[in-house]
């Protein structure tokens, strides 16, 4: 492949410092600057590079710093500790792997002890933590390794190879065939087979078509897409370009939440660089294929994650959904056939083309192939971003990788799928994580938020919290959602203040059923899910919250 890039000769050592997301707000940038200063001060400029990279996963322990080639990972690094990390590289004290168990290295251990007395020594994390070893990184393969603002880094990591391969060796139909055979399903939550969606758009008569990337990650408690966009934006652009080639589109839009300024800035940089290198624009790789990408910023409306509302918003209108069919694949943006996929779906495309459909289909379960990125948050010790193969059990994620709740509390439930999902109780943690199993439990896979709740969490309050969210975010177009969510919220408030009667419980259930089956779009249809799932697994909490029967008798 011939992409003209100018990479300086690699230096033997590299220090990678996370400068996105959580680590950035935990002073990651200052750490990076201090590392650079320390490297210069130690006279190691020709030996060591310092790069700002994307997310390394364990966000609750940030800022994270990792050194190559040793692979030592330091957590909660402060700018003051930068010099110590550099000193360790300089003295050759690295690469011993897990130093905690290292024997016969008394000199160095003593040095560490001294460090401890002077200032808190940088904490090195063991690479054998299940949090890291249980992961299988496809979407996040470059996250934390490459500098997201340098296209050269992405290309060096085999970036844009899949696009080149598609354009040179494959017909659009062959690309779709690979995606179909891989078994990839939409990662936005619903799990619609991606290949089928692409084939539908491709089958529409030639003419103006669009490819849209849904980066309106509205689910509270989920930040996978943000991390992918901040850590590896080119991967998404490459996926979109391959999709556009497969379906015959020449214009793409990325719809990003306005709340993610850094993701927007990294995407803008990535688009500019890709254009300059001839990877976006006209005649990509000297083929007749043209593809342009524009960014569209969201402005804070959860409903815009729904595809028809999202398209309305791209057109500059109020983001209100409309009934389907017609599906966007037939009539989308400005009435043209439009392919909408989620960030994570697009991020899976390049590796599938590169490694083949069979490689991807071998990962995961019978009906859910590949991996899924989850943001493991809430009352859990190791909060952060994980990518695991489909079919892993919830207990493996929460207990092994997340190491349970902090302060010895018992984990009570895991909430998946945001306001459209449900709570899975701890007794069901043996369930494998895939689209079907979670649905059976009354929750959904969703976009990948996984919020752990411990024994102190009151489920009625959780249900009420989500209902308040849906009530606020309802666009108001259809009545079941607009009025139903308000009524549900009021009923839940009654439960919360111990004023509910058995009639209220009955009404709560009837109303949930009604809102679920009569709402126009996914927001309304899924709004009762948190209530239904908590009613199913934690009914005793609702019963306990009712007015004692004796009060009725007296009244």
């Amino acid at each position: 492949m011939t992409i003209p890039v100018s990479n300086p000769p690699p230096k033997p050592c590299r220090i990678r410092c996370c400068t996105v997301g959580g680590c950035l707000s935990a002073n990651g940038l200052a750490v990076k600057q201090q590392l650079e200063t320390a490297v210069t001060a130690a006279g190691l400029d020709d030996q060591v590079t310092v790069s700002g990279v994307g997310c390394m996963g364990l966000c609750s322990q940030g800022p994270l710093v990792q050194t190559d080639p040793a692979g030592d990972l330091y957590a909660k690094v402060t700018p003051e500790q930068a010099a110590q990390i550099v000193a360790r590289i300089g003295s050759g004290e690295q690469g011993t792997g897990n130093r905690e168990q290292g024997t016969g290295n008394g000199e160095n251990l003593k040095l560490r002890a001294q460090d401890l007395e002077l200032s808190p020594s940088p904490t090195a994390l063991s690479p054998t933590l299940p949090f890291f070893t249980r992961q299988h990184r496809i979407v996040l393969e470059n996250s934390g390794l490459i500098d997201p603002e340098r296209i050269e880094d992405y290309i060096a990591a085999r970036g844009y190879e899949a696009l080149h391969q598609s354009l040179r060796d494959m017909q659009p139909a062959a690309v779709i065939d690979v995606i179909t055979r891989s078994g990839l399903r939409g990662r936005g939550g619903a799990g619609y087979p991606t290949g089928l969606k692409w084939a539908t758009v491709a089958k529409m008569p030639p003419g103006q078509k669009y490819v849209v990337c849904n980066a309106d990650e509205g689910d509270p408690g989920a930040y996978m897409d943000r991390s992918v966009l901040e850590s590896d934006p080119h991967r998404v652009l490459e996926g979109m370009a391959i999709a556009a080639y497969a379906v015959g589109a020449n214009q793409g839009y990325i719809y990003v939440r306005g709340e993610y300024p850094l993701a927007i800035s990294h995407l803008q940089t990535a688009i500019r660089q890709a254009k300059r290198h001839g990877l976006l624009g006209s005649q990509i790789f000297d083929s007749p294929f043209d593809f342009r990408v524009d960014l569209r910023m969201g402005a804070g409306a959860f409903v815009c994650g729904e595809e028809t509302a999202l398209m309305a918003s791209i057109e500059g209108k109020r983001g209100m959904p409309r009934p389907r069919p017609p599906y966007p694949a037939e009539s989308g943006l400005w009435g043209c056939p439009t392919l909408i996929n989620n960030v994570e779906t697009f991020a899976n495309i390049a590796p599938i083309i590169r490694n083949g459909a069979d490689w991807f289909a071998a990962i995961g379960t019978a009906h859910s192939k590949g991996t899924k990125v989850f943001s493991l948050t809430g009352n859990v010790q190791n909060a952060g971003l994980i990518e695991v193969p489909m079919g892993i059990t919830l207990s493996a994620i929460v207990e092994a990788m997340g190491q349970g709740a902090p302060d010895g509390a018992q984990v009570k439930a895991v909430q998946t799928g945001g306001p459209s999902g449900g709570c899975v109780p701890a007794v069901a943690f043996d369930t494998p994580v895939d689209y079907e199993s979670l649905k059976e439990l009354g929750s959904i896979m969703g976009s990948g938020g996984m919020i752990v709740m411990d024994e102190h969490t009151r489920m009625i309050e959780v249900a009420q919290f989500f209902m308040e969210f849906c009530m606020d975010e309802s666009c108001g177009k259809c009545i079941p959602c607009r009025a139903g969510t308000v009524q549900l919220y009021q009923l839940l408030t009654k439960f919360k203040s111990h004023q509910a009667t058995p009639a209220d419980l009955e009404q709560l259930e009837t109303l949930c059923d009604m809102v679920k089956h009569t709402s126009l779009c996914g927001l309304g249809q899924a709004a009762p899910n948190p209530v239904l799932s908590t009613l199913r697994y934690f009914r005793n909490e609702y019963l306990a919250a009712m007015v004692p029967a004796s009060h009725h008798a007296q009244a």
Partner: protein
């Protein structure tokens, strides 16, 4: 400013830029935008009020945004909010009478790994407690005096 495109579908982009420049969106400004993009004012107003991001009221000199995402909620964001409400003497979504401080809530800032998160004057801070946010509010307000 509107030179990016005079196309009507750029409305949301234009509103973003306008809010960045002026801090909030005045009715006259909305009218002006409607004229330039050749859109009915009702549609511009409709869009501006539909999205939470756009504000038709001026904000205070300092802002505090408490993330109310699920992860932050589970980690006690509600307590942070009520602490700030008490300290500043205003409700979420309001601005103090002296226009010094606006208190807001956000749906989710995507900083769930470091929940609960609060943004003071565009500076995101994680792992907050009721005490740290009150200190931060105090520091924020005394900085201008």
């Amino acid at each position: 400013m509107k030179r990016h495109q005079y196309r009507p579908d750029a409305l949301i982009e234009v509103l973003h830029t306008a809010q960045e420049l002026f801090g909030h969106l005045e009715p006259e400004l909305l009218l002006d935008i409607a004229h330039s993009l050749r859109l009915p004012p009702s549609q511009v107003y409709g869009v501006a009020t539909f999205y939470h991001f756009f504000s038709l009221e001026p904000k205070g000199a300092h802002t505090g945004v408490v993330c109310m995402g699920t992860a932050c909620y589970v980690k006690g964001a509600a307590q942070l909010l009520s602490a700030l409400e008490q300290k500043a003497g205003i409700q979420a979504g309001e601005t103090t009478a002296d226009r010094q401080f606006s208190l807001m809530t956000a749906r989710c800032l995507g900083a769930c790994g470091i929940a609960p998160a609060v943004v003071f004057d565009d500076q995101l801070e994680g792992h907050q407690t009721a005490d740290t946010v009150c200190d931060r509010l105090h520091a924020c307000l005394s900085a201008t005096e």
